[in-house]
C-alpha cells in the first residue's frame, strides 16, 4: 500500500513543486493518539470479578461497622431537655411572656444522674432543635471582614437587617448571627456540693481565633438596639477571645445541632448526681424549639452515633448476601460470556 501511495502521489505533487512528494504529503502524522489506538485495558464484568468485589467489600465493611458500633457504645452521653421544665408552673401558658420578661429570674436547677463512668474530658454541649441556622436570611447575615479587621469596622455589608444602630453607627459584630448569640449559662455542682469547673477555653477552633476573629476588634454598639436578640458581649474583650461567639458563628447546616459550651476536666463516676444551675435566657419558645443540655465523652469517631456502625454492618451483610446470590446464580444457571449464538443475527441464521 505504501509503495503504490508513493508512486501515485508523485504526479499530483509534481505539478506544485518538484522537491518531492514526501514533504508535500498531506498524510496525517501517525501517532497512537491520533489513530485512537492508545493501548487500553478493557475490563469486563466477569462473575468472578464481581463476586470477589462484593465479598471484599463485605470483608472490609463488617469489621469497620463493628469497630464503629463499639466506639459509639463506649461513649457515655447525658441529655437533659430543659426548656419546658424550666418554665415556672404558673407561666406555662405564656412561655413567650415569661422569656421576654427581663424582670423574672431565669435561674433553673436540674439534677442529672451519671449512668456510667465518664472519663474526662467531658464535653458540655447545648443542643437546639428546630433552629434554622441554615436559613438563607440568617446564614448570610454576617461580615467576615469586619470580624477580622479593626479598620473594617464600618464594613457592614451583608449584615441586613442588623447593620447599624438606629442612629447609623455600625454594630460590631454586625448581622443576625451575632445578634442572636445563645446566652443560656450552665453551672455544675456535684451531689456533694463540690463545684465542677467548666473549662470554657479553647472551645472554638484555633484557626477561627487566630485568623477569623481579630484580636484587636472589640464589640461596639452590640445589643444596643431596642430589640435585644441574644447574649451580650464584654466590650473590653477582643472578638478573638469571645469563644462563645466564635462557636455560635460556626453556623450549623441542619436545624438540629449541638454546640460546644465547655469541658469538664474531671472524671465522673457512675451514679454520681450533678446539679446544674442554669440561666434559661434564650428564647426558643416563639418557634417551639427545644433546648437540651448534653454531657458527653468522646471516642475516636466522635460522639455517640450508632448510625455509621449500623450502616456499615448492614452494607457489609448485604454485600455478602449479594456475593452469595451471584455465586449461586452463577453456579445454577451458568451463562457463557460472549457466546456468538446469543447474537440476534446469529440466532436468526440458526433458525433458518
Amino acid at each position: 500500500m505504501n509503495r503504490t501511495g508513493a508512486s501515485a502521489a508523485e504526479p499530483s505533487s509534481g505539478s506544485g513543486d518538484g522537491t518531492g512528494a514526501r514533504r508535500n504529503s498531506k498524510r496525517p502524522k501517525y501517532s497512537r493518539f491520533t489513530q485512537q489506538e492508545l493501548p487500553a485495558c478493557k475490563p469486563i464484568l466477569t462473575p468472578q470479578w464481581v463476586i470477589s468485589v462484593f465479598t471484599f467489600v463485605g470483608i472490609i465493611f463488617v469489621p469497620i461497622g463493628v469497630a464503629a458500633l463499639l466506639a459509639s457504645n463506649h461513649v457515655v452521653e447525658i441529655i437533659d431537655r430543659y426548656e419546658t421544665a424550666c418554665v415556672p408552673p404558673n407561666m406555662t401558658d405564656d412561655k413567650i411572656g415569661y422569656i421576654q420578661n427581663p424582670t423574672i429570674d431565669k435561674t433553673c436547677t436540674r439534677i442529672l444522674k451519671v449512668p456510667k463512668d465518664m472519663d474526662s474530658p467531658i464535653y458540655v454541649y447545648y443542643q437546639l432543635d428546630n433552629f434554622y441556622q441554615n436559613h438563607r436570611r440568617y446564614v448570610k447575615s454576617r461580615n467576615d471582614q469586619q470580624l477580622r479587621d479593626r479598620s473594617k469596622a464600618n464594613d457592614t455589608s451583608g449584615c441586613d437587617p442588623e447593620k447599624t444602630t438606629s442612629d447609623g453607627t455600625p454594630i460590631v459584630p454586625c448581622g443576625l448571627i451575632a445578634w442572636s448569640l445563645f446566652n443560656d449559662t450552665y453551672n455544675f455542682t456535684r451531689g456533694n456540693g463540690e463545684a465542677l469547673k467548666v473549662n470554657k477555653n479553647d472551645i472554638s477552633w484555633k484557626s477561627d481565633r487566630d485568623h477569623k476573629f481579630g484580636s484587636d476588634v472589640f464589640p461596639r454598639n452590640f445589643q444596643n438596639g431596642t430589640l435585644i436578640g441574644g447574649g451580650t458581649l464584654d466590650s473590653n474583650k477582643p472578638l478573638s477571645e469571645q469563644e462563645d461567639l466564635i462557636v455560635w458563628m460556626r453556623t450549623a447546616a441542619l436545624p438540629t445541632f449541638r454546640k460546644l459550651y465547655g469541658r469538664i476536666e474531671v472524671d465522673l463516676k457512675v451514679n454520681d448526681t450533678i446539679m446544674v444551675t442554669l440561666k434559661n435566657n434564650y428564647n426558643t419558645y416563639s418557634f417551639g424549639g427545644k433546648k437540651k443540655l448534653v454531657l458527653s465523652t468522646t471516642s475516636w469517631l466522635g460522639g455517640k452515633n450508632d448510625f455509621l456502625g449500623i450502616a456499615y454492618l448492614s452494607i457489609g451483610g448485604l454485600c455478602f448476601f449479594l456475593a452469595t446470590v451471584f455465586t449461586v446464580v452463577y453456579l445454577v444457571k451458568p451463562r457463557k460470556l460472549g457466546d456468538p449464538s446469543y447474537l440476534s443475527w446469529n440466532r436468526n441464521a440458526a433458525a433458518q
Binding site: 501511495g5 487500553a40 478493557k42 469486563i44 464481581v50 464535653y123 454541649y125 436570611r137 418557634f287 450502616a311
Partner: protein, 1111 residues
C-alpha cells in the same frame, strides 16, 4: 420578468449586481449583534442568560453571580470566535475567486480586470482551460465554424465535453469586430435552471440587420465551466455574482442540528419543566412556611411588611438554586469533544487516500454523532462509486476470448499476434472500434493525438484501438483517416445513425477508400445487436461472453459489420434523408429507417469496458447494508449504465435473488399506474426473502414529486434500494428533502458540482474529493478521498461519536442533577418536612463552580477515548449500528435511568452526611465539604464504571482529578481569608470523614454495580455480548470465516432482523416489510421467552425514541 443586457455598453440604464461572489454570513459591523442573536435563539442560551441576569439581584442569589457569568461569557466567546474564524475563511476563499484576473474587452481593447469587477454587458475573453467567471452568451470563438468545447463538470457533474455554438447572428465576425460589437440581449431573470436559457439577441447596426436571433442554452458559457480544446472564446456577461445559474442553485446551507442535539434539547426542555415544578412547589411551600413559621423565628427578623415582590423572592431563589440542574458545562464539553471527533476524522490514517494524496476532512465539526445514526445513504454514481475512468479490458472476437488470462486484452499476446498476422476479423473489429463513433481526434503541436469524446465508452474504445495499432488520425469533414501499423487508411463517412436510448446502438456507414466498398459498422448493447445478426451465425459464444463480462461488472458492447450493396445503400440513403428532414415524429421515423439497414449483421465480437469501480465499493455497500442502512443511487446517467453499475457493486442483486421494478411513464396517468403497481408489488414481496429495488427516471420523478409525493414517500420507506437515473441536481435535493420530511437521517455522498445541493440539503453531506473538482468536497460536511472510507466514517467515527456523546450528555445531566438534588434535600431537610424552605445553598459558590466546570467535566471528557468495541469487531458485526440508528443509547428511557441514579445518589450523599455529621459536627462548611467529597468519589466511580476501555489518559483524568480535588481544596483550606480555611485539614484528621465517604461510596455504587452486572450477564445487549466475545479472547476471532459467511447469508436473505426499517412501523401500511415476515414470527415463537422479552424491550425503547422523534 425580463432583463435586457446591452452588450458592451457601460452607460446602460439598468445596473445589475457586479460579479462579486459572496458566501459570507457576517460583515465586520453586523457580526456581534447577528452572532449574539443567533446564539440566543437557542433555548439553552436564553435560559442561561436569564439565570445570569437573575443572579445579579443580590437579594435572591444563593451564590456569586460570577459563577454563572464567567462560564457564560466564556462559552459565548468560544462560539463567536469559531464562527468568526469560519467566516473569515469563507471571506478569504471568496476573495481569491473575486480577485482572479480576467480579460475583459472594453472600447475595443483587452484589459485585465479582477473577476469581481465584471458587470453585466461586459465582453469577457477566455483562453483555453480558463474557468468561466460568470454566465456568458457566447459571441465568438477561435474556431472558424463558431464551435467551442466546454466541460461542465463543476455544474452538472458530466465530465464529457459539450459543444457550444455562437449565435447565428455572430457567425463570421472577426475578433476586431467582436470587440466593438453592440447589441441587446433579452433574457429571463436569473434562475437556477441549468438546462434552459430562452433568450433573444438583437445586434445593433452596423453589424447586421435588425433580425432577432434566438438563443438557447447551447449558446451560453455558464459560470464555473471550463473552456476546453478551444484557443479562445469570448462572450457577453448576462448573469453575474450570486445571480448566476450556479450561484442561484447554491442555496443557503442551513445550519445542521444532529438528532442527538435535538434529543439533548428535548431532555433539557423536560428538565426545565421539572425544574419549574420543583421551583413552584418549593416556592409555594417556602412562602407558606415563611408566613406561618418564619415569623416566629425571631432570629431571622422578618420584616412585618415586605415589598410587593416578596412572594416572588423565594421561588426565584429556588429557581437560581435549581438552575444548575441544566449543566452549563454541557455545551462547552460537547463542543470540545465534537471538535475532537472531527480531528480524529482528519487524522485518521486509514482514511487517507494515497492515490490523490488527500486526507479525510471534517468541515462541519458539529455533526459527527449523526454519522452513527444514518438510515439512508443517497449516493451519486459516477466518480463516487466508480472511478469515472473507462478502460477497455477484454474482448471476444469471432468466438475467441481475449484478455481472460491477464484481465487486460491490450496485453494479451494472442491478440497482439492476431493483429500482426492481419487476421481479417480482428482487423475489422479494430476498425469498428476506431471509427464507429463520434470522437474528435485532436492533434497537438507536438504531433501527439488526443481524443475528445462525448461518451467515455467511445473514448475508451478509440484509445484501446490506438494502442492496438489502429490509430484514428483525423476526421475532417467526411474523411476519416486511420493509421494501421503505419499504413494510412481512409474512409469516407456517409452517414451516422445516432445513438438513442431506445435503439441502444449506433452505426456509421462508410465507404472504404481502398476498395470502394460501402460498409455499415454498428455497435450497441447486446440485446440491440444480436437479434439483428444474419441468419446462421453462431450466437452462443457471444451470449456467453456478454454474460460472463456482465458478471464481472464490465460494460459490454457488441460490434457488428455489414457490407452494403451500392444500390441498396442508395435506396436507403434516399429514405434516410427524407426522414431526417421530416418535421413530425422525426425520431421515430429515423429509428424506423435505421432498422431497415441495421440487420443481417455479421457479429464480429464483444468489447468489455470497465468503468472501474472504486476499490472496496461492493464490500462497503455490503457492510453498510448489514448495518441497516438503505441505499439509493441518484445519478444523472443513463438507466442502463446505472443498473449495470448497481449490479456490479452489490447495490442490487441480479435475478433471481433480486427483482428490479421500473417506475416510468411519460405522463401523469402512466406514472401513477406504474407507481401504484410497484407499491403493491413491494408490499406483496416484502415478505419474501428477495431484494426488490425500483428504478425511476428523471422525467417520471418530476411528475411524481409534483403530484404523488405521499405515495412516493411510502414507497421510499418500503424500499431499501432504489435507482434514480437522469435526475437533475435539484431533483436530487428534492429527494433528500423528501427523506428528511419523513424523519429519516440521510447521508448524501457525491463528488461533483451537481451533487452540491443534495449534499447541502442532507443531514450529512459527504463529498468525494474526486476528478470532478472539489465543489462537492467543499460544500460537504465531510470530504473523503474514496467511497470505501464511508464505512469507516460511519461505523467507526460515527458510532463512537454517538456513543460518546450519549454518555457525555447524560452524565452531564446526572452530575448536575446530583448536586442540585442535594441542595433541594437540604431545603426539605430531613426532620420535619417543609421546614426552613428558604433556598440556602449548602455549597459555596467556588465549590459549586469548580464542581460543575472542573471536577466533573474533565474526567468525563476523556470519554472521547472510550471504545465500547474495537474497530475490528464493529466492522465484523456492523449490525450493532442499529443501537445508534434507533437512538437506543440516548433516549428518554435511558435518561430516566440516569435521572433515577442522580436522585438515588443525592439521597445517599445527603442522608448519610446528615446522619454521620449530625449534632456537634453539623457545622455547615464541614458538612458541605463532606457532601462534596461524597459526590466527587461517586462521580469518579460512576465514570469509571461506565467507561468501557481505559487508556492512560482516562485513568489519569479520572484519578488525577480525584487527587486534584483534594490538592485544590487543601490549598484553599490553607488560605485564611477563605470560608473553608482549615476545613480540609480538619476533615483529613477525622476518621469519621473517611468512614463516611467510604460508606457513601459503598451504598451509592453497590446497587449500581449489581444491576449493571446482572444486566450485563443475564440481560446482555448485543453490544455486551460482543464485548464479552472480544475480551474473553476466543470466539470473535475463532468465529472466523464460517460464521461470517453465515452472517452474510442471513443478512442477504432476511436483511437482518435488527434492520432499521422495521422500526418505522408508524403506520400499519408499512408494517409488512420485515418485522412481520414469516421468518421473523417463526423466530420469535421458536426462541425462548427470554429472548422474546429482550427483543420486545429493544423494540419498545426504539419505538419510544421514534415516537419522540415524531412529536
Amino acid at each position: 420578468m425580463k432583463r435586457f443586457v446591452y452588450i458592451n455598453d457601460d452607460s446602460s440604464p439598468i445596473s445589475f449586481c457586479d460579479n462579486r461572489v459572496s458566501n459570507r454570513k457576517y460583515t465586520v459591523l453586523n457580526f456581534l449583534p447577528k452572532n449574539l442573536w443567533e446564539q440566543f435563539s437557542r433555548f439553552m442560551n436564553q435560559y442561561f442568560l436569564l439565570i445570569a441576569c437573575l443572579q445579579l439581584w443580590p437579594l435572591i442569589t444563593p451564590v456569586n453571580p460570577a459563577s454563572t457569568w464567567g462560564p457564560l461569557i466564556f462559552i459565548f466567546a468560544v462560539s463567536a470566535t469559531k464562527e468568526a474564524w469560519d467566516d473569515y475563511n469563507r471571506y478569504l476563499s471568496d476573495k481569491k475567486a473575486n480577485e482572479k484576473k480576467i480579460w475583459v474587452v472594453k472600447e475595443g481593447i483587452r484589459k485585465h480586470i479582477e473577476a469581481q469587477d465584471i458587470h453585466v454587458g461586459n465582453i469577457i475573453w477566455l483562453r483555453e482551460n480558463d474557468e468561466v467567471p460568470c454566465d456568458l452568451v457566447l459571441l465568438g470563438t477561435s474556431d472558424p465554424q463558431g464551435i467551442c468545447f466546454v466541460q461542465t463538470a463543476a455544474l452538472d457533474g458530466e465530465t464529457d465535453l459539450k459543444t457550444r455554438l455562437i449565435p447565428s447572428a455572430c457567425v463570421g465576425l472577426a475578433s476586431e469586430q467582436l470587440y466593438k460589437m453592440k447589441g441587446v440581449i433579452e433574457c429571463p431573470n436569473p434562475d437556477k435552471d441549468i438546462r434552459r436559457f430562452d433568450a433573444n439577441m438583437r445586434l445593433f447596426p452596423p453589424f447586421l440587420d435588425n433580425d432577432l436571433c434566438p438563443l438557447t442554452i447551447k449558446n451560453t458559457l455558464l459560470q464555473s465551466c471550463h473552456l476546453r480544446n478551444t484557443e479562445w472564446a469570448c462572450g457577453v456577461a448576462v448573469y453575474t455574482g450570486n445571480e448566476t445559474k450556479l450561484g442561484m442553485s447554491k442555496g443557503i446551507p442551513e445550519p445542521k442540528l444532529t438528532a442527538v442535539d435535538a434529543m439533548i434539547d428535548k431532555l433539557t426542555g423536560a428538565i426545565f419543566l421539572f425544574q419549574l415544578v420543583v421551583v413552584i412547589v418549593l416556592g409555594f411551600a417556602g412562602n407558606i412556611w415563611k408566613d406561618t413559621e418564619a415569623r416566629k423565628q425571631w432570629y431571622v427578623k422578618y420584616p412585618p411588611e415586605g415589598p410587593w415582590y416578596e412572594l416572588l423572592i423565594i421561588p426565584l431563589r429556588f429557581e437560581l438554586l435549581c438552575s444548575i440542574m441544566i449543566p452549563i458545562s454541557i455545551k462547552v464539553s460537547l463542543d470540545l469533544v465534537k471538535s475532537l471527533y472531527a480531528k480524529f476524522i482528519d487524522w485518521d490514517e486509514e482514511m487517507f487516500d494515497h492515490d490523490t494524496n488527500t486526507p479525510s476532512h471534517a468541515a462541519n465539526t458539529a455533526i459527527s454523532e449523526d454519522l452513527g445514526q444514518v438510515e439512508y445513504i443517497l449516493t451519486d454514481k459516477t466518480g463516487t462509486l466508480t472511478e469515472n475512468r473507462m478502460v477497455f479490458r477484454r474482448c471476444c472476437i469471432s468466438g475467441i476470448l481475449y484478455g481472460s488470462a491477464s484481465g487486460d486484452a491490450l496485453r494479451d499476446a494472442e491478440l497482439l499476434n492476431a493483429i500482426s498476422n492481419n487476421v481479417p476479423d480482428v482487423i475489422r473489429f479494430l476498425t469498428i472500434m476506431a471509427i464507429c463513433n463520434t470522437v474528435i481526434p485532436i492533434k497537438s503541436n507536438s504531433g501527439a493525438i488526443s481524443y475528445k469524446a462525448q461518451s467515455q465508452d467511445e473514448d475508451a474504445l478509440v484509445n484501446a484501438a490506438a494502442q492496438l495499432h489502429m490509430v484514428l488520425i483525423s476526421k475532417s469533414s467526411n474523411i476519416i483517416e486511420v493509421n494501421f501499423s503505419s499504413t494510412a487508411l481512409q474512409y469516407v463517412l456517409l452517414d451516422i445513425l445516432e445513438f438513442t436510448s431506445d435503439r441502444k446502438r449506433m452505426s456509421v456507414i462508410v465507404k472504404d477508400c481502398q476498395n470502394g466498398k460501402i460498409i455499415l459498422l454498428c455497435k450497441g448493447a447486446d440485446e440491440a445487436i444480436l437479434p439483428h445478426a444474419c441468419a446462421g451465425q453462431q450466437m452462443r459464444t457471444y451470449i456467453d461472453a456478454v454474460e460472463q463480462y456482465a458478471q464481472l461488472g464490465l460494460r459490454t458492447l457488441c460490434l457488428g459489420w455489414r457490407q452494403l450493396e451500392d444500390d441498396d445503400y442508395n435506396e436507403w440513403s434516399h429514405m434516410f434523408k427524407e426522414a431526417s428532414s421530416s418535421v413530425t415524429d422525426r425520431e421515430w421515423k429515423l429509428a424506423e429507417i435505421c432498422q431497415k439497414i441495421e440487420h443481417n449483421l455479421e457479429i464480429l465480437g464483444v468489447t468489455a469496458i470497465e468503468d472501474r469501480l472504486q476499490d472496496g465499493v461492493p464490500e462497503t455497500i455490503e457492510i453498510l447494508r448489514r448495518a441497516g442502512i438503505n441505499f439509493w443511487m441518484l445519478t444523472g446517467d443513463k438507466q442502463d449504465t446505472a443498473i449495470q453499475i448497481a449490479l456490479s457493486c452489490n447495490f442490487i442483486s441480479s435475478e433471481p435473488r433480486g427483482q428490479l421494478l421500473f417506475l416510468n411513464g411519460k405522463n401523469e396517468g402512466e406514472v401513477f399506474r406504474s407507481l401504484d403497481r410497484i407499491l403493491r408489488t413491494m408490499k406483496l414481496t416484502s415478505s419474501e426473502p428477495k431484494e426488490v429495488a425500483f428504478v425511476v427516471d428523471g422525467v417520471s420523478l418530476e411528475i411524481i414529486l409534483k403530484n404523488y409525493k405521499e405515495s412516493f414517500a411510502e414507497l421510499a420507506t418500503l424500499s431499501r434500494t432504489a435507482i434514480c437515473c437522469r435526475v437533475t441536481p435539484s431533483q436530487k435535493a428534492q429527494l433528500v428533502e423528501l427523506f428528511k420530511s419523513c424523519d429519516y437521517r440521510t447521508l448524501a455522498v457525491g463528488d461533483g458540482g451537481n451533487d452540491v445541493r443534495m449534499i447541502q440539503q442532507a443531514d450529512i453531506g459527504v463529498g468525494i474529493s474526486g476528478r470532478e473538482g472539489l465543489q462537492a468536497a467543499r460544500a460537504a460536511d465531510y470530504s473523503i478521498g474514496k467511497f470505501r472510507f464511508l464505512k469507516r466514517l460511519i461505523l467507526v467515527h460515527g458510532r463512537y461519536s454517538y456513543n460518546r456523546t450519549a454518555f457525555l450528555s447524560q452524565y452531564s445531566f446526572y452530575k448536575s442533577l446530583l448536586i442540585c438534588f442535594i441542595q433541594i434535600l437540604l431545603s426539605l431537610s430531613s426532620f420535619s418536612l417543609f421546614s426552613g424552605v428558604s433556598g440556602t445553598s449548602l455549597f459555596n459558590s467556588v465549590s459549586l463552580m469548580a464542581y460543575n466546570v472542573f471536577y466533573t467535566s474533565i474526567p468525563v471528557l476523556t470519554c472521547v477515548f472510550d471504545k465500547d468495541l474495537s474497530e475490528k469487531t464493529v466492522m465484523q458485526n456492523p449490525q450493532i449500528l442499529v443501537y445508534c440508528q434507533a437512538g437506543r443509547l440516548l433516549n428518554p428511557s435511558t435518561f430516566a435511568g440516569w435521572f433515577g441514579r442522580s436522585v438515588y445518589h443525592a439521597m445517599v450523599v445527603f442522608l448519610i452526611t446528615a446522619h454521620a455529621y449530625a449534632d456537634e459536627k453539623s457545622e455547615i462548611e464541614q458538612l458541605s465539604m463532606v457532601a462534596l467529597s461524597g459526590c466527587i468519589w461517586l462521580q469518579a466511580f460512576v465514570v469509571a464504571l461506565e467507561m468501557n476501555s481505559f487508556t492512560v489518559l482516562q485513568l489519569l483524568a479520572i484519578w488525577g482529578n480525584f487527587g486534584a480535588f483534594y490538592v485544590i481544596n487543601s490549598l484553599a483550606s490553607a488560605v485564611p481569608s477563605f470560608g473553608m480555611y482549615t476545613i480540609m485539614f480538619r476533615l483529613f484528621r477525622q476518621p469519621s470523614y473517611w468512614i463516611t465517604v467510604i460508606l457513601i461510596l459503598g451504598i451509592g455504587m453497590g446497587p449500581v454495580l449489581a444491576i449493571k452486572y446482572f444486566r450485563y450477564t443475564y440481560r446482555s445487549s448485543t453490544i455486551n455480548i460482543l464485548q464479552q466475545q472480544e475480551r474473553s479472547g476466543g470466539p470473535v476471532y475463532a468465529m472466523g470465516l464460517g460464521s461470517l459467511e453465515s452472517q452474510l447469508k442471513s443478512s442477504e436473505t432476511d436483511m437482518t432482523p435488527l434492520s432499521i426499517t422495521q422500526l418505522k412501523n408508524r403506520n400499519s401500511v408499512f408494517e409488512p416489510l420485515l418485522s412481520d415476515s414469516p421468518t421473523a414470527t417463526r423466530r420469535s415463537v421458536g426462541s425462548s421467552a427470554f429472548d422474546y422479552l429482550q427483543a420486545a424491550q429493544g423494540r419498545l425503547s426504539s419505538s419510544h425514541s421514534r415516537n419522540l422523534k415524531n412529536n
